[in-house]
Amino acid sequence: MTSEGDSLVKRVYMDANATTPLLPEVMEAMRPYWMERFGNASSIHLDGQQAHAAVDRARATLAEFFNCHDAEVVFNSGGTEGDNTAIFGLLRPGDHFVTTSIEHSAILAAAERIASHGVETTFVAPQPSGLIDPAEIRRALRPETRLISVMLANNETGVLQPVEEIGRIAREAGVFFHIDAVQGAGKIPLDVRRFGCHLCSISAHKMHGPKGVGAMFVRRGTPIESLIVGGSHERRRRAGTENVPGIVGMAKAAELALLSLEDGTIDRVAALRNRLEAGILKLSGTGVNGAHLPQNLGAPAPGFRIWESTNPVPRVANTTNIWFDQLEGEALVIALDLKGFAVSGGSACHSGATEPSHVLMAMGLNKTRARASLRFSLLKTATEADVENVLKVVPEAVEHLRAISPVAAGTLG
């Protein structure tokens, strides 16, 4: 066995929801800002001005990406910072917070922390389909509710949440609304005006930009306190010398993402995902997590494009989450990795071991089935050959594991 570096076999990467590689154009756009145009955007001299101009241009691109004003874009270090800022920056002792049990840990852990500071949180559970029912959000509201935070797209299932409707509920109730759009950005068009949110967090590295940089839409007049204090950067909303190369890279990634939503790329990804999903579902004892038509939600909110597939729930184009009866998902992930295929099965705990996904458990899957579920999330650069290769390897691997698997038959969820 060779280490990853000298491996001659081309790897197939289907874990785009974890992270994505830079596109070459992004790398090129960033290049001058490391050594030539290295200035500090806060400096008054020409070097600083060049950096400042680059950040301004990036801000304009992100404003277009969010559909907001330039002044409403705050650059930060990524999705976790955005999520944390929404919570720590708005909530004070005595406030009430409404979110969902399928959020990213950047929201869940922050909610846990503010609990000890006198902020109570209501976690709304999803339906078995993976969708959040807006009526449940409304029911969770209290007079002292100050913030609602709901993700746009779930990282595990790809299910798109009815944020527009939740935005209306927030407006009616006079409550601030934050959207964690990390997994939606670049996969569907963002429109913070239509979503009706006050805050919206995204991360560059989930859409072929660099790691360690993100952006947050902060609607004018939203009284949010900066998480990080120091200089007056980002109009005092986020201190710290601007990560100029990162910001430039993020803007290029956003620009390319917008293009990919219009030029047919995203539809091609959806078609590949659907083919992959249909191929795997031919195996007995499999199914999609996040696939039931909700009973009382009606059609998905207008404006969302739903890519036709076997799955009637609105999802992003690149993600499918599939359960396999009678096997250990963790072993399947490892077996596939050793064969050159990167997929994900649950979330990594502190040691790196796999924990069953809290999202799938919240949807009502039992631990065994949650453990036996795999997420395939395709890059925009995925090819037909990638899908064919996965469809060649997965059935054998599943069969092999089932022959050995210590898991008893019948792990119905």
């Binding site: 066995m1 280490s3 570096g5 990795d337 050793l338 705990c349 790196g352 698997s405």
Partner: protein, 375 residues
């Protein structure tokens, strides 16, 4: 990757298993490193006196996983952490707690070897396309083809470095497990292992050995019992009772039978001109009998839940040497079948502190004949 030649190395983050990975990788074998995540060291931290920050040198501490991962990176081998926490709790932690509450003194390491390190690890290895596993245990396994002995069995033998002999904890291995396992350190001494680790550039070559029970930070099992039961929503069962002399005289009372182990001297709570030791714990009456050192000696023991290695079964009396705890010099005895799934051992010389819950491992020369759990 060729399916049956790949070897999965159980990597704990210690010197021994890291060196095994280094040796096999250096030999050109296809190697995958696996660490079993068995217990969350932060789970009971800070409760009932359990230390907040677990020390390094315990299985599943983050430092050990970090060390194992760094070794794998250094060797350029794939490495994964496998979550076996639920099985570990069910197969090792719960029986451990139950044994103490029943007045016995358990050995979690043997249970872990039987249920996790060999059984489950082998299944995981096979699942990911590795035909064999390798561990850093000091033991030797060999196939006796039976040409001379007529046995045709896998044999487990004591290692070259008798001070590190771990065969006592391995008596539960099945023939299939022995056939699929490599013990590359069996013919090496610990100093040699450290030397190889140094030669292979392993940063942890000087890391001290771990000693205590891995899931009990601080080493105080009573704290662990209390904290674990509380987490499970249970109180420690009431097992307080009388402390008796061997002649039946009541010397005092004790707080619970789980505080005692046969042969224990400290913490009895009674004063006496001569040292007193726990002789017997009666889980039914909660009586704990204490007496003089010489009263600890017994000539027989019974064992059950047996596993045989060098023989298919015990059908006639057999002369063996028996080890009744990890640091015990094996003692000569005659072993004979005693009812269904039980054996009776009669020692040539009386043995001190035969402890229910520990295992008895039977040796014929260097070979492990088999073993069982002391009643």
């Amino acid at each position: 990757m060729t399916v049956n030649t790949t070897i999965a190395v159980a990597m704990s983050g210690g010197v021994d298993s890291s060196t095994v990975a280094a040796i096999l990788a250096h030999d050109g074998s296809a190697v995958v490193g696996l660490t079993l995540q068995l217990w969350d060291q932060t789970r009971l931290a800070g409760k009932h006196g359990i230390p907040d920050a677990p020390k390094a040198g315990r299985c599943c501490s983050l430092d050990d996983v970090y060390d194992a991962r760094r070794v794998a990176e250094h060797l350029g081998i794939p490495y994964y952490v496998v979550n076996q926490q639920e099985r570990f709790e069910a197969d090792v932690v719960r029986p451990f707690v139950a044994e103490y509450l029943a007045g016995r003194t358990p050995i979690p390491c043997s249970l872990c070897n039987n249920h996790l390190k060999f059984d489950q690890l082998l299944k995981t290895a096979q699942s990911i396309g590795a035909g064999r596993i390798a561990t850093g245990h000091y033991a030797v396994n060999e196939y006796d083809s039976g040409r001379d002995s007529g046995r045709g069995r896998w044999i487990l033998k004591r290692p070259t470095d008798l001070a590190k002999d771990q065969t006592y904890f391995l008596f539960g291995l099945t023939q299939e497990q022995l056939a699929s396992t490599l013990f590359p350190l069996g013919h090496m001494t610990k100093p040699e292992v450290r030397e190889v680790a140094r030669q292979r550039g392993l940063a942890l070559a000087e890391k001290p050995d771990s000693q205590e029970i891995c899931f009990i930070p601080g080493g105080d099992y009573k704290q662990f019992l209390t904290a674990y039961l509380e987490e499970q929503g249970q109180a420690l069962p009431e097992t307080a009772g009388e402390l008796l002399s061997s002649s039946g005289e009541v010397l005092g009372r004790h707080d619970g039978i789980f505080n005692f182990t046969v042969g224990q001297r400290k913490g009895l709570g009674v004063s006496s001109p001569t040292p007193l030791y726990v002789l017997q714990i009666d889980p039914a009456s909660h009586r704990v009998t204490v007496g003089a050192d010489e009263e600890l000696a017994t000539r027989t023991l019974r064992a059950r839940r047996l596993n045989w290695i060098s023989i298919p079964d015990l059908i006639a009396p057999m002369r063996v040497r028996i080890k009744i705890r990890h640091r015990h010099e094996p003692a000569w005895a005659t072993l004979e079948p005693a009812g269904v799934g039980e054996v009776l051992a009669t020692f040539d010389e009386p043995q001190r502190a035969v402890t229910p819950g520990q295992s008895a491992v039977f040796y014929d020369g260097d070979e492990v004949v088999g073993g069982g759990w002391i009643l």
